[in-house]
């Protein structure tokens, strides 16, 4: 996933590099605050570790081998902010001293592998590990899943950066000046490679290391997990809302995935406008009068057909529609719940919950 120089335009490199400056600054400040004057050796050894972990050849069940990035592993072991610095430093060493990955493209590579990957993967890990003990199997599995999801998030970012190049930068006769593939080609290609082989390597490494440390060296896991009990027996019984939590996770996933609708071709069955209908295919001679009459009944829509009235910036309009729709539905549900609670409070004789 290391993008070399020459694939990205200097403008893309500048934007991604500028985006990484505040991230690195915040990461340095936060790590310094947490570990005081111990930060320099810890970060340096973390970076050296990150560099070496990237060199491990992980055997995949299909018989081939692949490299893992290990950013989520470092986020689990040392925290996501430390992972930002460690992986960035490893990327700088690879680019400057070993010519692996571009020097100008360093910002883009760091954005994908040192920022998006550890944070997305660590978030998934925390969510999946939940309130489990340090030695539970679920925690090790959660680390593996975090590695898998984090790597794929990083690959998606790389695919977007590469896929935007031919659209944004081409000459007058349509010659792509940098990476030549469009989003519709980069995203499936990167997804295929990273959902299977590279994702499997990341999963195996992250899960394997955490499972090993659970058995052999628990103090190392405690570095980034203060306050987490060691075994399941020590867990305090807690009130759990598994159904609600899983429902919220499902809804959040759907919201995050909604831009996929941009890739879907054609329209939805039974939602055509009358002018798009071919009445003869249904054995009709004309559009039914009622459909014709009531179709134009409501014209005061904010974003007609999930886009702007001008018809331009279709993708932006779609995403904006999705965001506004999600907000409106969420607000309606909250309002409904609030009204329901207010009514229930007014009638104390009604048994609730």
């Amino acid at each position: 996933m290391h993008i070399p120089d020459g694939y990205l335009s200097p403008a893309t490199c500048a934007v991604t590099g500028a985006a990484m400056v505040p991230v690195i600054g915040t990461a340095c400040a936060r790590v310094k605050r947490v570990v005081k004057d111990r930060h320099a050796p810890l970060l340096a050894l973390g970076a050296a570790y990150s560099f070496l972990v990237m060199m491990f050849n992980i055997p995949i069940p299909d018989g081939t081998t692949a490299h893992a990035v290990g950013a989520v592993l470092i986020a689990v072991l040392l925290g996501p902010w430390a992972a930002v610095v460690c992986v960035s430093v490893a990327l700088v060493i690879q680019a400057l001293f070993f010519g692996d990955g571009g020097v100008l493209a360093l910002g883009a590579n760091a954005l994908n592998m040192a920022f998006v990957m550890p944070f997305v993967g660590y978030g998934v890990y925390r969510l999946a590990a939940g309130n489990t003990s340090l030695t539970s199997r679920r925690r090790a599995l959660a680390a593996g899943i975090g590695g898998y999801v984090g790597l794929n998030a990083a690959a998606l970012c790389a695919a977007i950066e590469l896929g935007l190049q031919p659209t944004l930068f081409h000459s007058a006769n349509g010659t792509p000046l940098y990476a030549p593939f469009h989003l519709a080609q980069t995203i499936p290609t990167m997804a295929l490679a990273h959902l299977t082989i590279a994702g499997a390597a990341e999963f195996i490494l992250t899960l394997g290391v955490v499972a090993y440390l659970q058995r052999a060296n628990l103090p190392l896991l405690r570095i980034n997990h203060p306050g987490v009990v060691d075994t399941d027996e020590e867990l305090a019984p807690t009130r759990r809302l598994p159904a609600l939590r899983w429902a919220l996770i499902g809804i959040a996933t759907m919201i995050i995935l909604s831009p996929l609708g941009l890739l879907a071709p054609g329209g939805a069955y039974g939602e055509d406008a009358p002018i798009d209908l071919n009445p003869h295919s249904y054995g009709l001679s004309a559009i039914p009068g009622g459909l014709q009459h009531y179709n134009g009944f409501w014209k005061h829509t904010l974003l007609a057909d999930y886009g702007f009235a001008s018809g331009r910036h279709a993708s932006l309009g779609y995403v904006l529609s999705a965001a506004l729709g999600a907000l409106a539905v969420g607000a309606a549900i909250l309002l409904f719940v609030a009204v329901g609670r207010a009514v229930a409070r007014r009638r104390p004789d009604v048994q609730t919950g």
């Binding site: 070399p4 340096a44 394997g208």
Partner: protein
């Protein structure tokens, strides 16, 4: 590198078994342990090669690291902005001339860049030449697909050529920098690019202890290979081994970081990073930097004069 006067012979061989920790005899393709060992050996080999070429007398070696770093970045940006293959080819020839002037073996220099190109760039760029990916004027028709003419397009071929030339030139520029600059100087030069002091310190320590940890992991892998009797591949065991060695390596890294921290405290470290500041820039460095900046402007200007 080919033709090095002081490089030991085993460093120059690309065969397996070239490095003392590599295996001798026939190499089993696909073994994860072997591949990891090869990768680790390659890192050491590259680092030693860089140190060795950086110590040779030559044009680029005599320049200040800061001037070199800034000039390489300026030229990389210029190369990134160029839109014509002949201009890129010109800059590439210039890197060859610089390599020759810096006593870098030309064959090794060219090989290092062009061995990388077919694997990554060639594979990625090849499909872009077809009208499926890059629509445009078909110059080499290959048949028809649902009534459309398909084949290699002028736009696709130009784009593929541009990418290959740009990637080759960019890599050559960076390789020139790494081969002619020892890493402590390159590190202190990073300060001129506004890299924070703490990061420079971390970078230096990471590079230093990288090789200490690399030794540990090599030993672990060799020890495991010595204990492996079966010739067949054992995927499950190898996957478990990746977890063990990764975990054990982290344990070593963390213990080492604690020891280093204590050693730093014993030497008066109080949480502030300091780097050795180097001597002032000489006139030659200034001339070099100005010449490179002028060249960068000239390259981009000339490229724009050829048309967009």
């Amino acid at each position: 590198m080919a033709g090095g006067a002081t490089t030991p012979a085993w460093l120059l061989e690309s065969e397996a078994g070239a490095f003392p920790i590599g295996c001798s005899g026939r190499r089993r393709r696909g073994s994860a342990l072997e591949k990891t060992l090869d990768g680790l050996a390659k890192v050491v080999r590259q680092a030693i090669t860089s140190e060795e070429t950086a110590a040779r007398p030559g044009l680029l070696q005599s320049l200040d690291a800061r001037a070199k770093l800034l000039s390489v970045v300026a030229l990389l940006v210029a190369v990134g902005l160029v839109r014509h293959i002949p201009v890129l080819a010109g800059v590439y020839l210039l890197t060859l001339a610089l390599a020759a002037a810096s006593r870098i073996g030309l064959w090794g220099f060219v090989r290092r860049v062009w061995l990388f190109i077919p694997v990554f760039t060639g594979l990625i760029v090849a499909p872009a030449m077809f009208s499926f990916v890059t629509p445009g004027e078909v110059v080499l028709p290959l048949g028809h697909w649902f009534g459309h003419e398909v084949g290699l397009t002028r736009q696709g071929l130009t784009s593929a050529g541009l990418i290959v030339c740009r990637v080759a030139t960019s890599i050559s520029l960076v390789v020139l920098l790494t081969l002619t600059t020892s890493w402590p100087r390159l590190l202190s030069a990073l300060r001129t690019l506004f890299v924070p002091r703490l990061l420079v310190l971390v970078l230096g320590m990471a590079y230093r202890y990288l090789f200490v940890l690399l030794d540990s992991i090599s030993e672990m892998v060799i020890a495991r290979r010595a204990r492996t009797i079966a010739a067949g591949r054992n995927g499950r065991g190898a996957r478990a081994a990746a977890g063990f060695s990764g975990g054990a390596l982290f344990g070593k890294a963390h213990a080492l970081s604690e020891e280093i921290h204590q050693a730093m405290l014993a030497r008066g470290f109080r949480g502030e990073a300091r780097t050795l500041e180097r001597a002032r820039l000489r006139a030659l460095d200034g001339i070099w930097l100005l010449a490179c900046l002028a060249l960068a402007v000239l390259v981009v200007g000339g490229d724009r004069a050829l048309g967009l």
